[in-house]
Chain length 426, copies 2
Amino acid sequence: MKIQQLTPELSLKRQLETGNEQQLATVRTIIADVQKNGDAAVAAYTEKFDGVALSDFKVSAQEMAQAFAEVDVQIIADLTEAAQNIRLYHEEQQRQGFQLPLADGSFLAQRILPLQAVGLYVPGGSAAYPSSVLMNVIPAQVAGVERIVIATPCDATGKLPAAVLAAAQILGITEIYKMGGAQAIAAMAYGTQTIAAVDKITGPGNIYVALAKREVFGVVAIDMIAGPSEIAMIADDTAFADEVAADLLSQAEHDAMACAVLITTSETLAKNVQIEIEKQLVTLPRQAIARRSIEDFGVIYIAQSIADAVDAINQLAPEHLEIVTENAQVVSEQIKNAGAIFIGRYSSEPIGDYFAGTNHVLPTNSTARFASSLNVDDFLKKTSIIYYTEKTWQDHAPKIARLARLEGLEGHARAVESRAWRKETI
Amino acid sequence: MKIQQLTPELSLKRQLETGNEQQLATVRTIIADVQKNGDAAVAAYTEKFDGVALSDFKVSAQEMAQAFAEVDVQIIADLTEAAQNIRLYHEEQQRQGFQLPLADGSFLAQRILPLQAVGLYVPGGSAAYPSSVLMNVIPAQVAGVERIVIATPCDATGKLPAAVLAAAQILGITEIYKMGGAQAIAAMAYGTQTIAAVDKITGPGNIYVALAKREVFGVVAIDMIAGPSEIAMIADDTAFADEVAADLLSQAEHDAMACAVLITTSETLAKNVQIEIEKQLVTLPRQAIARRSIEDFGVIYIAQSIADAVDAINQLAPEHLEIVTENAQVVSEQIKNAGAIFIGRYSSEPIGDYFAGTNHVLPTNSTARFASSLNVDDFLKKTSIIYYTEKTWQDHAPKIARLARLEGLEGHARAVESRAWRKETI
């Protein structure tokens, strides 16, 4: 991991995979096919890509029970406790609308309602991601979404990972479909004979899933298209090099495109972290991935001061930020741009990935300047309400008509004035 | 305007203009050019498209003062009062983060901060849109955004509409650039030598502006890409046909692609509205546009009951909904999907466009199922904060490590366990 002096111009931006023309054409073909042929198209793509002919996409109650029984009781307990923590944090985000009384009995209001149906995509492949189930489902449940659907690809025998189904069972989710890729996104966006369409689709996926989400954006809402994971750390000479290195590697192991950056005021720490990274890499099961990430995107920056480090972080706007310094909490208060901040030595980043209660779906690639983690608001919508009485209308109609005419919209002015067209109403 | 029976399958969806390949190629060329050549590129495109060679894009204090003096004092008063109303409604949307204490001194928190810089695009052309200035700027100001920039194309003499500058002056906005089209969007997204980049771009525009906003999405945040205006009305035999017709036409005059729909339980009202539409169209200055909208997309539906009308509206999810029935407020409580609801005879839709205080930037094309009007949240971002003490870490580290290993992420498990690697810390 290279060491260099902190410079004023920093960026975490990487060239993100946006898919090539052929991938996009494939995705468009699949979406059009599912839109036209529904279940039959989903079945055909599932056979083609997942290698299994399914008579029914929906996971049965029996499969759910069986999966739950298969998972170690300790893991069930861990997932249950994590779910409770996540629910607690997200319940703090609950919101209510308001009513604003105006003169003469008129009022304005904002009504906040949950979306009616959302779909969560859970990636399949070599690993199982029960934490994705918790992080996407719980904010929707707290928002009050009535119908929550999960889509996830099965293996060639038609099975889904037991841990994913167990996580769903813990949350009380029963509408789970064995389908993946662009066909799953299309089925949830447009609906099929057996799968009713949803209003929003969230969750991570491969390039085909990401492209499909972009394509259906507007027909349904989508969450962000997340890029590779990022961790930035601010540390001084109170930090321990082995712990810093372990935390940097925890994000580097996600993806060869992941980005791990340390900004430190201590040259000694910098050198020791460099040594520790090499030492720890050797025994890491995902060494190849982590090594590419560290070599291509990992940097240890030496800063003149913590203030300089803070400035750099505000410019980087990293997904995850750990602060391991004296008075870490005071330092954290100066951070304006970061997805999630982990304060102090014991707040290792994976605590947020799995357990603490905050959401692990976070803005990447410097978008923390303007974007937030997945949260309850993502599953709510607001309706404006206007009630004018005759008196209020009468007091303001001339002003509204003038403003409409100023913009050349005579029809708007006449609409407001129309209430006076009939004698009895003046 | 045609009359037909209400059917269970309704949709407001129209084929929206998404731009052709040539328009997209033009937009991409302009964006790349502005990214590379900054001010020089913006100047060149302004000369090409707006027909004026500008030495300085920025509106001067003198121009601002002059514009303000040019606008009728009554209009200044109307805009000022509208701005106060809009501010009042949006101030009700202000939010605060929270801190959630955990055991042993640990805590989670959510910090809510304003975006730092936003850019508002105000369309130019034949008309001036001071109301767009109010509706986009005020939510950002209420959120606490420090830097608010306006971009708007000038005419061939380098002038901007006085009413637009006056509206900006009323709000205290001073950073206004004479630039339009894709070059304005690119300049705000990437920055130039004289224009610093922003974090989010909002505001309506033509197809080039819309395509450019889509292209820079991810580099900056954008608001929705709004489609043509929509109005739906539910009315019974207590409604007056001339008022209903006037309100339908107020949205139809916006755009030939606009959509005006009436759902009524009264056949008499349906027939009278049909007659009134024809009568009022004849004298409407924007008759040609309104007529095309009414002919292509306008429908009067006869419903068996108000309940059926409500079901239809929830399926349509219109941008604007007026309810002119007995007990209109009770009916409004059953509406789940609408951008804004106008209750009762005196709440004519243009009241919301200009004056009442709610936002006129609203979700179109059935996206009210999942989207909201522009609001204060659009200019805020949330950061998650995690602070674990040694004790809390110790209590939960084994669970977190188990969940990480369940997902095949050994590096995550080791990071959490690393705090125990050194004897003295156990």
